[in-house]
């Protein structure tokens, strides 16, 4: 199999841009930051990318080897994907001082660009990533990564300044300036740049238009708009009433509640991590891990029948995955006590039967929702409880419980193939 010439030219252009980026960074390192060795190193990396440009312009047809693609695909699954993103997130926060160094962050960016360019030589990967409506997601990934770096970079600087007893960065340039010209010109330049980017984007990429709508033929996979794909991914673990209604409602309520439950008066008006460890960690986890990486998963790695497809895998609509998920009631009554589940309705009727059948799950959920808050108030979160008061504390813990419900269900699904904790399909009440 060979690579299309247009694609090779595109890749050559892409690597040229990346090379220029590196030369720019090299020049900045040498001249601006007076770090000559780093500068030479980045210039060398630039040359490496330039070699790619030459290779693709002369249509060498370099491709990722099939063996390597299969190896990467073999490593990737929903479990590894989610675990890697959670572990990477924890490492990023813990070793933030290391990761925010410009050379380290730049290295990660170059590796991702190099890998991204190489991955584009795979037809399956290309088909998904280059889809018009998926382009914003690549932009989202890079902009969220960049701004996370920027915020943590400034937070680390501010935390060090605070530790030394110096004022935060935002306090340094504290004098007042006139809005005309300082702010209005910044705004004007931003507007012009945004217009420019938008026009270039609109000229290069046509808005998608598929066949006329028909209710007779459903596309497989049927996907919601990309910004809701995190919610659609939750459907794997929860029924629509949870994933589509209750959890989104809790997200909105939780966001509005943030200022009223965050009693910490520190870190108001400047970037800081140390002063707001708890709040920043929870929010970053919610936004970066649960929201953004699930969107990426839902867009790039979920194919026909919402099955998981690794990066370079062909989206085969006939891929069959065994579904052997079981409910908690079955695990308890059938596997432990050897009581058939149908017995409950026969013996106790249509109303009491399902309730008794699902009693283990009802107890588990009840304990989780009702017993956990007082338990936390007496143990790990005692200081929070004392400082926040009853209402704030209960609100905070309830919101965290709903947020944690997703990762908990994920783990249960992976480890014991759990389908529902409580399953009363008679009234659509499945958790």
């Amino acid at each position: 199999m060979t690579l299309d010439k247009g694609l090779q030219n595109g890749l050559a252009f892409f690597y040229l841009l990346v090379a220029l980026l590196n030369f720019g960074f090299a020049a900045y390192s040498m001249v601006g930051a007076k770090r000559r060795i780093a500068g030479f190193l980045w210039a060398g990396v630039g040359v490496l990318f330039l070699l790619h440009t030459v290779g693709y312009f002369s249509h060498q047809g370099w491709m990722l080897s099939a063996a390597l693609r299969e190896f990467i695909d073999g490593l990737t699954g929903p479990v590894t994907y989610t675990m890697v993103s959670i572990v990477a997130f924890a490492l990023l926060l813990y070793f933030r001082k290391f990761f925010v160094q410009p050379d380290v962050a730049w290295t990660i960016l170059q590796l991702s660009l190099l890998a991204g360019g190489w991955a584009m030589t795979d037809p399956n990967f290309r088909e998904i990533v280059a889809k018009e409506d998926n382009v914003p997601i690549s932009m989202l990934i890079y902009s969220v990564a960049f701004f996370t770096w920027l915020a943590l970079y400034r937070a680390v600087q501010n935390d060090e300044r605070l530790a030394r007893g110096e004022p935060v960065l935002e306090k340094v340039d504290d004098e007042k300036v006139l809005v005309w010209p300082d702010l209005v010109y910044t705004e004007l330049i931003c507007m012009i740049l945004a217009t420019f980017v938008l026009i270039i984007w609109a000229v290069l990429l046509k808005a998608p238009l598929e066949q006329p709508a028909t209710s007779a033929k459903a596309p497989n996979p049927s996907k919601a708009p990309w910004y809701f794909l995190g919610l659609q991914e939750m459907l794997v673990y929860y029924d629509p009433w949870m994933a589509g209604v209750v959890l989104p409602t809790m997200i909105i309520i939780g966001l509005i509640a943030i200022p009223y439950i965050d009693f910490n008066r520190g870190g108001n008006g400047y970037y800081s991590f140390v002063e707001r460890k708890f709040a920043v960690s929870i929010f970053l986890f919610g936004f970066v891990v649960l929201w953004v990486t699930l969107i990426v998963l839902g867009t790039f790695l979920r194919g026909p029948n919402w099955n998981f497809f690794a990066f370079f895998e062909y989206w085969d609509p006939h891929k069959v995955l065994p579904l052997n998920n079981v409910n908690l009631s079955q695990l308890v009554w059938l596997n432990v006590f050897h009581i058939p589940l149908d017995d409950f309705k026969v013996r106790f009727g249509d109303f009491l039967g399902p309730i008794l059948r699902e009693l283990p799950g009802i107890i588990v959920v009840g304990l989780y929702m009702l017993a956990l808050p007082p338990l936390l108030a007496r143990t790990f979160m005692k200081s929070y409880f004392l400082r926040m008061g009853f209402v704030r504390f209960i609100t905070l813990v309830t919101l965290i419980q709903f947020m944690a419900a997703l990762p908990i269900k994920m783990v249960l699904r992976w480890v014991i193939n759990l389908k529902y904790i409580v399953a009363i399909p008679e009234i659509f009440f499945n958790i």
Partner: protein, 257 residues
């Protein structure tokens, strides 16, 4: 007298700009007070507060995207009729016939961009702790604006009336069917009945109200069109006014005390 001076001394010019060009300190203050658009801003701000490395300009860009989408959206309305008969063909004509045909692209990519910029704006506001007192209420207004932005994008997704559109909306709106008590496949809905007649069925539940029917149909198209072009933008415009007003009243761009 140069042409420029002649123009600036004419009665017409002076009737529009009631003071000299903002070249000295006094007139730079006056310009902010006499122009209705500029007066959204204060006269002076803290230098660190407007640094791009602090604000990322994402709130401003979100507002700019809203304006851009309003302009391109109004232009698109000239070409588009929200009926089963015309919707898809009107988009085809926009794509294939209209001169300088990037109008739809500007609108679609602008909408995607607005979703990203509003998330990043919120991200920045959180990470600088700018929602803390006295700005608690304005954060809540911002969350509502976020929801409305997503709804705007969602309602607009249906309008091209192609396969992508109706199935994305079908997937999305199927959730409403499962709303507790109010969706006919939602938990608890079976309990809401008078005698043997259930109040919540597929012709009366939350999904039916959203779609104007039991499935995505011509009624849905009209409903989403009106929501997309009139109802939600009006609500957004009002809330943006509240949001900006409260930014000013709650102490301007945040910063260390």
């Amino acid at each position: 007298m140069s042409v420029g001076d002649f123009i600036r001394n004419s009665q017409v010019w002076k009737s529009v700009f009631r003071h000299p060009a903002p070249r000295d300190r006094r007139n730079r203050v006056v310009v902010m007070l006499t122009n209705v658009f500029l007066h959204l801003h204060p006269v002076s701000v803290r230098k660190s507060g407007i640094a791009l490395s602090y604000t990322w300009c994402m709130g401003g860009l979100t507002f700019f995207m809203f304006l851009e989408l309003t302009v391109t959206g109004v232009l698109l309305m000239f070409y588009y009729r929200p009926t089963l008969e015309h919707a898809y063909n009107d988009i085809l004509i926009l794509r294939d016939v209209a001169t300088l045909g990037i109008l739809r692209e500007l609108h679609r990519w602008g909408a995607h961009a607005m979703v990203i910029t509003i998330w990043l704006h919120m991200y920045r506001v959180f990470l600088t702790g700018s929602y803390k007192p006295p700005r608690e209420f304005n954060w809540g207004v911002g969350v509502i604006l976020l929801v409305l932005t997503l709804l705007l994008s969602f309602t607009g997704y249906l309008l091209p009336w192609d396969q992508l559109a109706i199935w994305a909306i079908t997937v999305g709106s199927n959730m409403a069917r499962a709303t507790p008590f109010l969706g006919y496949e939602g938990p608890g809905a079976t309990f809401l009945k008078v005698g043997d007649v259930s109040l919540i069925h597929s012709g009366s539940d939350a999904r039916f109200i959203l779609l104007g029917g039991r499935f995505v149909s011509g009624e849905t198209l009209l409903r989403f069109y009106v929501l997309h072009c009139v109802a939600i933008p009006l609500a957004v415009a009002v809330l943006i006014a509240v949001h900006f007003w409260r930014v000013r009243k709650d102490g301007g761009i945040s910063g260390p005390l």
